[in-house]
């Protein structure tokens, strides 16, 4: 219980600090802290694979992408002296809508404090699959992902393909042509078959 409160409170505080920090690099660092604490929460839920994947993919790749964007934009800290209350009406409404959306997801029976569940026994969620034989998180995921839900899996591969090709198409331009050596052609040069002009340039010590 104490670990849950530690992780969730640090996650909430650092997610607020993401938008409140003056330096954009600080806000990316708080963002990384949010991911670390969320990964800790996932470990508490018993999803150890997803916790490690959060660290590898989210922190190791997505937060790094954010850092690259911050580096690219070249924001000087002194330029940010905005009035915070300017965005409060619209931002507050959108934030409130996101908060209310959470109640669509949470089933009211799982929250002990709400008036529908005023009993004194704490409601625990029983994972019946765990009681029969204990599989690791990886095994349960792998058992279903490649057989029952294989279409979603192949769709995800298509999404990754689109991302790869899209990134290359958008950032490559003509000036990124590289001069390469053709090793086989260089090895196949025979002195007898060279022309006079080539021989002169080749015998030049420079």
């Amino acid at each position: 219980m104490i670990l849950f409160s530690v992780f969730s409170s640090i996650a909430l505080v650092s997610s607020v600090m993401v938008i409140r920090a003056k330096n954009p690099v600080h806000s990316v660092l708080f963002f990384i802290l949010v991911f670390f604490n969320t990964s800790g929460l996932l470990v508490l839920l018993g999803l150890d694979f997803f916790a490690m994947i959060f660290l590898v993919v989210y922190v190791g790749a997505i937060a790094v992408l954010f850092l690259f964007v911050v580096m690219m934009l070249n924001i000087k800290i002194a330029e940010i002296h905005e009035n915070v209350l300017r965005y409060l009406p619209v931002g507050g409404i959108i934030g409130l809508i996101f908060l209310l959306e959470i109640f669509f997801i949470i089933d009211n029976d799982y929250i002990p404090i709400l008036p529908t569940k005023l009993s004194t026994t704490y409601l625990t969620y029983t994972v019946y699959a765990e009681k029969i034989q204990s599989w690791t998180n990886l095994e349960t995921l792998g058992n279903l992902l490649y057989t029952t839900y294989f279409i979603l899996f192949l769709v995800s591969s298509l999404i990754l393909l689109v991302a790869m090709i899209g990134a290359i198409v958008l950032t490559m331009h003509k000036t990124t042509q590289v001069k390469r050596q053709d090793v086989f052609r260089q090895n196949a040069i025979d002195f007898k078959t060279l022309s006079i002009a080539q021989k002169i340039t080749q015998s030049d010590p420079k």
């Binding site: 470990v43 150890d48 694979f49 994947i53 590898v56 993919v57 190791g60 790749a61 997505i62 790094v64 992408l65 690259f68 964007v69 580096m71 690219m72 070249n74 690791t136 990886l138 095994e139 995921l141 792998g142 058992n143 992902l145 490649y146 057989t147 294989f150 899996f153 192949l154 995800s156 591969s157 298509l158 990754l160 393909l161 991302a163 790869m164 090709i165 990134a167 290359i168 950032t171 490559m172 990124t176 042509q177 590289v178 001069k179 390469r180």
Partner: protein, 118 residues
């Protein structure tokens, strides 16, 4: 639980980094800390002419995006490798199709020379 060693490891690494930062704060004399001339950029003794940031090369971003893509491919390989005896031939071939689709992207990237640097 079995994650207790990870907790111990986290606490020790946190302590170590706090000690490393804190000792330098303790033992530095306050007069030699940051005064404005010390914090300026060094340009061979001249006054700094321009901002230190040069133009950002987009190739870094492309490398990190391609790293994400192949990292996710490896992430999908992990549960498959563990549960291969249960999913049988169908699971095997679905992963092979996944790898083939990503190999198409890999061939495209190789032929285009997306990771070549001058």
């Amino acid at each position: 639980m079995e994650f207790a060693p990870i907790c111990v490891y986290l606490v020790i690494s946190l302590l170590l980094s706090l000690i490393l930062i804190g000792v330098s704060f303790l033992f530095a004399s306050s007069s030699s800390l940051a005064y404005p001339e010390k914090l300026l950029a060094y340009e061979c003794g001249f006054d700094p002419l321009d901002d230190a940031k040069s133009r950002f090369d987009t190739r870094f971003y492309l490398i990190s995006i391609l790293f994400i893509i192949f990292d996710l491919e490896v992430t999908f390989l992990f549960p498959w490798a563990v549960s291969l005896n249960k999913i049988g031939l169908f699971g095997f071939w679905s992963m092979i199709v996944f790898l083939l689709i990503l190999t198409i992207g890999f061939i495209y990237e190789w032929k285009k020379g997306a990771l070549d640097w001058e």
